[in-house]
Symmetry: C2
Subunit: 154 residues, 2 copies
C-alpha cells in the first residue's frame, strides 16, 4: 500500500496555509504505520525509535510513564504478558505550527494472553501528540483507552 | 485558591515567545478546574459549555463520541451509572500557535456505583486538545484511561 492510499484513508485537518501539509501528514501517517507494525511485533526497541527525546506514554492500569527508559520498560512489561495483532485507523491528523501535530486513531484486533494463550478482542481509541525533532516527527505524548465493553469485575 | 496558586501546581510548557502565555495557560487551567467541578457534580449541561463546536470525547469501554450530541449523551450515560469524586492535577499545558493547546492531567479519587452504592478507587491519566473558539478556550479532543491496577475478569 503506498502512502497516497494510506492518506486517503485518513480524515485530515490541514495546518493553515502550510504548503507542505501533505508531506508532513504523510510523514506522521508513516510513523503511525510503523507504530502498528512494531506493536504487533512486540518490539520495544523499534517502538522507542518512534518516540522523541522526552516522551510520556499513558498506558492503561498504570500511571503515566515519563521519560524514555520508563516508556520502554512499560512496553517491555506489556509485551511480556500479551501479543497484539491490531490494525490502526487514522481518523485525524492536525498540524499545528511547524513542529507540533496531534492525531486521533482507533485500533481493533486480537490480543493473545501469553500465560494461557487465550485470545480476546482488542479495541482502543488513541490520541497522539507529535513533535518534530531533528527534522523527524516523533511521538511526544501518547494515550489509549479501551473501547471494548466493560467486563464483570471492573 | 486563586489562579496563581493553581498555576504553580502545574508543570507548564510555554509557547515560544508568546507574551500572553501566562494568561492563556491560566484560562486553560480554569477550564480544567471547571471540568473537575462539573464532572463531580454529574452535570453534563455545564460540561458541554466547556466543549467546543465539534468535539470528540473518547470514553473507556465505548467508541469515540463525535459531535456535541454524542458527547453529551455519553456523559449522561456515565452519570446515570456512577457518581465521581475526583481531583485533577495538571502536569503540562502547552500552547501551540494562537488557537491550539494540549494538556496532560491525572485524576484520583472515588467512584460510587449508583446501582449498589459500592465505592471504588478511581484513577486516570488524561490528555486534552484545546481550541480557542470565539476568544474562549474549549475542549476539542479528550481521552482518559484508567491508572488503577487490572481487575480479574478484564
Amino acid at each position: 500500500m503506498n502512502n497516497l492510499t494510506l492518506l486517503m484513508g485518513a480524515s485530515m485537518v490541514m495546518g493553515s496555509g502550510d504548503v507542505l501539509a501533505n508531506s508532513e501528514t504523510d510523514q506522521i501517517q508513516q510513523v503511525l504505520q510503523q507504530y502498528e507494525q512494531h506493536l504487533n511485533a512486540g518490539n520495544s526497541g523499534e517502538i522507542m525509535k518512534l518516540y522523541g527525546e522526552a516522551p510520556v506514554f499513558m498506558p492503561q492500569h498504570a500511571p503515566a510513564q515519563v521519560g524514555r527508559n520508563e516508556v520502554q520498560n512499560a512496553y517491555d512489561g506489556v509485551f511480556s504478558q500479551i501479543k497484539l495483532k491490531v490494525k490502526f485507523t487514522t481518523h485525524e491528523i492536525e498540524l499545528v505550527g511547524d513542529n507540533t501535530a496531534w492525531a486521533r486513531t482507533s485500533s481493533a484486533g486480537k490480543t493473545t494472553i501469553l500465560a494461557n494463550q487465550a485470545v480476546i478482542d482488542e479495541g482502543n481509541s488513541e490520541l497522539f501528540v507529535f513533535k518534530k525533532e531533528h527534522d523527524s516527527w516523533k511521538i511526544h505524548r501518547y494515550i489509549f483507552t479501551t473501547t471494548t465493553p466493560m467486563q464483570s469485575g471492573e
